[in-house]
Symmetry: C2
Subunit: 233 residues, 2 copies
DNA sequence: CGTTCGATTGACAATGATCAACCCTTGTGG
DNA sequence: CCACAAGGGTTGATCATTGTCAATCGAACG
């Protein structure tokens, strides 16, 4: 299997044996490059391979009530359609935000390796557990928080996830998302997201321009967004 | 392991072998009865056993921004803290709504059985996959839908899940939830949930009194709530 | 019979949506 | 090299969905 970042995470999380590690690393895969806006996997497809995000970002999206709702962002190392091992069809688009690179790993081959190395099954299950925890946080974010803490929380989450895969240092990272993307993810209008971000800037909490986001006051942002990174471990 | 309904679901979903089935059925467990409002598992606990809901309902809740946000409802056969096999602490309360019965299955014993029968690991992973799909729908529900379709969607989801475990027929079921519970789950105020439910009643779509809910016009409700049960399979 | 909880109603407030411009940067074709 | 188009960001004005507050009602229960 491809990505360094994924593998490193699985190794720590799942405490894999030597042979399991080798089996994982040795999995064959194909690489595909995507441009901004390209759809990696289409809603309704029945994929025969899993997608590992190697670089860039994907977002899981679907039109709900004439609104494009984003239900997840994926950072390098994530496997956005891992659940398709269990459920045949994927009911969302996986859309590249900015250019990205993905690797595809055949279900058939992957299933065989999982049969041979049960520790890997357990480790990948753990990945699903983390994704579920993220969804849970989003439910709470959308259900209970006002605009400002909601956006703050999402910023903290993205920063932490990027940091974990070595793509952010000191809260500074490259983010190709537009304010419209954030609106779709936060269930807010673009206009209101714009005003919210301005408020965060005005308070000196973030610097976000030309696709570079920097969290200037992490602690304060976490306080406002009621963010606790525990759930991402 | 205890519950008929869970086991039946796992059998169909996971295509378990004879020996795996036996191992599953043979798992030792302890039963506990809960009254309305009792907390089965407390936020911050580090459970040493998994909880299988045998009868009644649990809701996963946590206080966010001085609001009690419910992020999941559980029906009989569900294992609300299954993820604790992977993550040590649970960061929500699991609260009984109405009286309920739960079975607890020791992590140690369960882990051993999972090591011995990898097919079971895969099947339980599948349970996590379904729970994640439900969270995803909640994200979309909270992020994109107005009050009426939001409540309609939740009603459809509950009805379908109840039907799957044989606790609803023709969309009629026993539901101990209050309007306040629905408010906490839908991210709406109690007052507005009340008005929304009245609107559903006025349109002749539901009958809901003295803890009995009946979906009178399933198709119309699904249309309003933009509900498609695929994700629950 | 009083208390409590859940449901209901009305009046009013506010967060965030919508609509409509406008600006600025970037990219592209002539 | 310039003109123009397009996309993203920004702003102001207005609208409306939903929240808040407060009171009432009815049923269940001890």
């Amino acid at each position: 299997m491809p990505h360094q970042r994924l593998i490193k995470r699985l190794l720590t999380a799942g405490r894999l044996s030597e042979s399991e590690q080798k089996a994982l690393v040795g999995l064959p895969y194909a690489v595909r490059n995507l441009a901004d806006g390209d759809i990696a996997v289409h809603q309704g497809e029945r994929p025969s391979a899993c997608t590992v995000l190697m670089s860039g970002f994907l977002s899981r999206q679907r039109v709900i009530s004439e609104r494009n709702q984003i239900s997840a962002f994926y950072v390098p190392g994530d496997i956005p359609d891992l659940h398709c091992l269990h459920v045949p069809t994927i009911d969302h688009d996986l859309c590249s935000t900015g250019p990205s690179t993905i690797a595809t790993v055949s279900h058939v081959v992957l299933r065989q390796v999982l049969r041979d190395f049960p520790g890997l099954t357990y480790a990948l299950w753990g990945e699903t557990v983390i994704q579920a925890a993220i969804y849970r946080e989003w439910v709470e974010n959308l259900g209970a928080r006002a605009a400002l803490p909601r956006v703050a929380h999402l910023l903290c989450e993205l920063s932490t996830r990027m940091q974990k895969v070595g793509l952010a240092e000191n809260g500074k990272m490259n983010l190709p998302f537009t304010q419209a993307d954030f609106a779709d993810a936060c269930g807010l209008s673009v206009v209101h997201v714009n005003r919210t971000i301005q408020e965060l800037r005005r308070r000196g909490l973030i610097d976000w321009q030309s696709q570079t986001l920097e969290l200037l006051q992490r602690a304060e942002l976490e306080f406002i967004g009621d963010f606790n990174e525990e759930y991402l471990h």
